[in-house]
């Protein structure tokens, strides 16, 4: 794996020894401590938001490689269980470090996006992902731009899929978002803009209309 591999999996932020370990995990998973690899990946994803945005990819590749080489799923199991641990302590995580919490949500949503089971998203993650998004829609989180930004980004990426898995919860979530947009005090104008955009996005069946594109994403010319 040359530079393109590094770029693709965004592993530049790891030290060289860890990079080597990851590369081995991708090529020869049977000869690597996959539980350790899973922990390394989760740890890093809590620190590095750039990494956590696309970490699902490297995880997917390792899972496929392990399945093909040894017919096992130790990596996946370790990854998910670690993810679950962090999920259980997410309130503490958020209290400790807002940035780590945001990274976590980004990561779990990316995992949900990438890792499939017989071409279906992982059922076990649906409610936990919703729980995280609901948390981001709480008043104290809405007052933080970074959390609103995270929320909106995740909905752009996986909202449609998530809705298919459980539309009722999506309805409830958007109820909160509408309320937040209308009634929440202390909302920055950027946050308001982000919320309005996502509400419109969903209303347009998770698609970007030309009008919305123009309004939200084009340069304003005087």
């Amino acid at each position: 794996m040359g530079e393109t591999g590094k770029e693709e999996y965004k592993i530049q932020s790891f030290d060289s020894e860890t990079q080597k370990l990851l590369k081995t995990a991708l090529k020869d998973p049977g000869n690597v401590d996959l539980e350790k690899v899973a922990n390394i990946i989760v740890d890093q994803s809590l620190k590095d938001c750039v990494f956590s945005k696309e970490a699902g990819r490297i995880c997917y590749t390792i899972i496929q490689a392990e399945s093909k080489q040894v017919g096992q799923s130790i990596f996946r199991r370790s990854l998910l269980n670690r993810l679950q641990q962090e999920y259980k302590d997410r309130e503490d995580l958020r209290a400790r470090s807002l940035q780590a919490w945001i990274c976590y949500v980004t990561f779990i949503c990316n995992i949900f996006d990438y890792l499939r089971v017989n071409n279906m998203p992982m059922m076990a993650l649906v409610n936990p992902v919703y729980d995280c998004l609901f948390r981001l829609a709480q008043p104290d989180s809405l007052r933080k731009e970074e959390e609103v930004d995270c929320l909106v980004l995740q909905l752009h990426r996986i909202g449609e899929q998530l809705e298919k898995m459980n539309s009722q919860r999506m309805d409830e979530l958007f109820s909160l978002l509408r309320d937040g947009f209308l009634l929440q005090e202390g909302l920055s104008s950027l946050s308001q803009l982000l919320l309005l955009e996502i509400i419109e996005f969903r209303a347009a069946d998770w698609k970007m209309t030309d009008a919305a594109q123009k309004y939200y994403y084009s340069e304003v010319t005087d």
Partner: protein, 275 residues
């Protein structure tokens, strides 16, 4: 792959209550999925024929808008693995049903060419469709296949060369059987597979096992049969020219794929002897 030698006394740490050697040894992987080291004893395997609490899937519920029953399993790793097994089993049963239908259709066409109106015995076999049951059965089958003995068996005896009554056949999880009947079939099948356990240093412990209606299992003669035919017969090839259709045998392929064609050619009677 190196063979792990069986040792009758459970390796270096012999526990006071030793499980019978044949159940724990010869297993490539422990219950957590990790590859087991040589001579590692695994006391949890002892329970594999009992209904372990963690395996009790009766605690299930259906969420109103959910896609199906969820087991009350709080561990994501296990939940996803179950998911995977469930969707695989569902795909298998869909395929099996389709093939049964096609088979029925082709049989009807053949018989109707002679007589006009007779509904020739289109045996409508009732299938096992309960997900909980199917998954439990699949797990039991996986235990049996997750052994060195099974690996050796399928390498030695390609499916098309199996002789009924001599070579073990994986029980068909889609057929209706009582719980007792099924568990017995699994037990007999696994006992039969032990003939392919790797040889121990102290001679073969296996001969102690009471043979159960299996006839003579002459691994040597089977071995020589397969060596000469290995070149001509591929593992995945279920249309071996030398084998008449009716003695072709049903079994799952090593990778877990379901050999429908072979399954459909088996006689539709109750499975009362291990073959």
């Amino acid at each position: 792959m190196s063979f792990r030698h069986r040792s009758p006394h459970g390796g270096n740490n012999s526990s006071p209550q030793e499980p019978p050697p044949r159940w724990s040894h010869g297993r490539k992987r422990g219950a957590d999925g990790k590859r087991r080291k040589q001579n590692e004893s695994d006391s949890s395997v002892f329970d594999e024929n009992k209904y372990r609490p963690s395996d009790n899937r009766l605690d299930s519920f259906t969420t109103p808008k959910g896609p199906g029953p969820l087991s009350r399993c709080s561990d994501w790793g296990t939940a996803v693995e179950e998911d995977e097994m469930r969707t695989s089993v569902n795909k298998e049963i869909a395929r099996y049903r389709r093939r049964l239908l096609i088979n029925e259709f082709t049989r009807e066409r053949k018989s109707s060419s002679g007589s006009s109106d007779s509904k020739e015995s289109t045996v409508t076999v009732e299938l096992e469709t309960d997900e909980v049951v199917l998954m439990r059965r699949q797990k039991q089958i996986n235990y049996g296949k997750n052994t060195i003995a099974y690996d050796r068996y399928i390498k030695e005896v390609p499916r098309c060369h199996r002789i009924p009554g001599v070579h073990p056949r994986t029980p068909n999880k889609f057929k209706k059987y009582s719980r007792r009947s099924w568990d017995q079939q699994i037990k007999l099948w696994k006992v039969a597979l032990h003939s392919w356990d790797p040889p121990t240093e102290e001679g073969c412990e296996l001969q102690e096992i009471t043979p159960v209606d299996l006839g003579e299992m002459e691994t040597e003669s089977v071995g020589s049969n397969s060596t000469e035919s290995q070149t001509s017969c591929q593992d995945n090839d279920d249309t071996c020219s030398g084998t008449p259709t009716k003695v072709r045998h049903v079994d799952y392929q090593a990778q877990g794929e379901f050999n429908l064609e072979a399954c459909l050619s088996e006689p539709l009677k109750d499975f009362d002897t291990v073959s």
